[in-house]
Amino acid sequence: MISRSKLRGPIGRIGPYAAAVFISLGLIEAIITGKPPYSAFAFGCFFIVLGIIEYQRTKLITYLILGLLWGTGTWHSMARFIVSFLSLETYIPHVIVALAALVLTWPVFYGNEKLESNARKLFNLAAEHVHEAFNGFTDRPYSGCKTEYTRDEISGFARFMGGKKIVKSIVQPDIVILSFSMGISPLKEPDLQQISYISFDNDGNISVHISEYDYKRFKEELTFDQLCASLGDVFVRFLEYYKKGLESRIIVELKSGAK
């Protein structure tokens, strides 16, 4: 039996389909008219709109810059057929700038994509064990779990999870916070109320916070306290794997959350 995701899909998934559609339209237009400026214009608009939408969601300027460069680059590729001062000599520098921007922003772009993808997997794993949908959302952290660990173990666990871009780790003297989000990027270091996180204090107390944006990404209004408890259980399990030196099981289990 194939288990379907309880989350709504990410908007970025339409990228490949949109590209296929616009390329097809471009070919059809080229066959009919000899050149596809209108398809290229629409394709460019798509990149720009996607860049704006992703920027508004993640608050990372990277998406806006890349969207604008690729969008205007797509316009530029066909504009030489319409505008006389644009040519291949002006298009090539535009492409170089767009590629340079991608290379320079790659750590942020790739880092955020990985964090978001892993956040979706974490939420899918948590949602597997929640079968009721009585809502009950609150923006308070859920405090129900308690487990045992040393300071070194939890710090090491945080560094491991951060290094694998599963979460963004914040290690403080009194508390360790692992943040993740399908909305505002944790790389922006936003106010904790705006993103989801799990915190571990020095006494073994665990708190789970799911942001309103992340909760609304679920197709159903899953019973909130059960969802928080389940998410806490996921991280407790991952911590146990880490303490036993079974980090690879974390990666394997996380991959099973990809739907």
């Binding site: 009585f134 809502n135 009950g136 959302f137 609150t138 923006d139 308070r140 952290p141 859920y142 405090s143 914040i170 403080q172 009194d174 508390i175 916070i177 904790l192 109320q193 915190s199 204090d201 107390n205 708190s207 019973t223 909130f224 306290d225 059960q226 928080c228």
Partner: protein
């Protein structure tokens, strides 16, 4: 003396003319409002109100006299020493505290309350609630003490099992000595629909 009576005393004693009126009352056997007003160059109604208030508070006695054209009152001191003795402990919620602590509560669904943690601390520093309806709705921010913040941090979620106040306090590690302030915040949040009682 209860708080309300003491507050009334405070209102009248803080008047600039209070000491002068009492000086007259101590030195005269009895005095009327018009005699005191003319002596102190005050409006008769002002003095009348003061003397009536002091009578109602048991400091003065009055008797009606029938002289000249119409009857009027003469006021005299009943006691020459006034002490304000307020027992603040009487404000403490002591009515069946065990019964109040066994109330089962949890957060109310869709209350709209916003809880704020003090950065990374495991307790809330404040809660913002909505008061009023429609366009008259206003935000009210309540700053919490640390015991209150810890208590609310462990308040059961809207779909979780109800827990008694005592159980939540134990879970939060809040000492019973703080139960009056915990009951106070629970009462307030219950009033504004943030907390639901079973």
């Amino acid at each position: 003396m209860d708080f309300k009576t003491a507050a009334r005393f405070g209102v009248y004693f803080s008047k600039g003319y209070a000491e002068e009126i009492f000086r007259l009352l101590v030195n005269y056997k009895d005095i009327s409002a018009s005699e005191a007003a003319s002596r102190l160059s005050l409006h008769i109604q002002t003095v009348q109100d003061f003397l009536e208030a002091m009578t109602s508070l048991g400091i003065l006695s009055k008797k009606e006299v029938y002289e000249k054209k119409r009857p009027y009152f003469r006021y005299s001191l009943k006691k020459k020493k006034i002490s304000l003795d307020i027992d603040l402990a009487s404000l403490l919620e002591q009515k069946q505290p065990e019964r109040k602590l066994s109330k089962k509560i949890r957060e109310n669904k869709d209350s709209g309350a916003r809880f704020t943690t003090a950065r990374y601390d495991p307790y809330f520093s404040s809660v913002v609630i909505w008061i009023g309806e429609g366009r008259d709705r206003k935000e009210r921010k309540i700053n919490l003490t640390i015991p209150q913040g810890k208590f609310l941090f462990h308040l059961p979620f809207p779909t979780a099992e109800f827990l008694t106040i005592a159980e939540i306090m134990q879970k939060a590690g809040v000492d019973m000595i703080h139960s009056p302030e915990i009951l106070d915040i629970v009462e307030l949040l219950e009033k504004y629909g943030v907390i639901k009682v079973k």
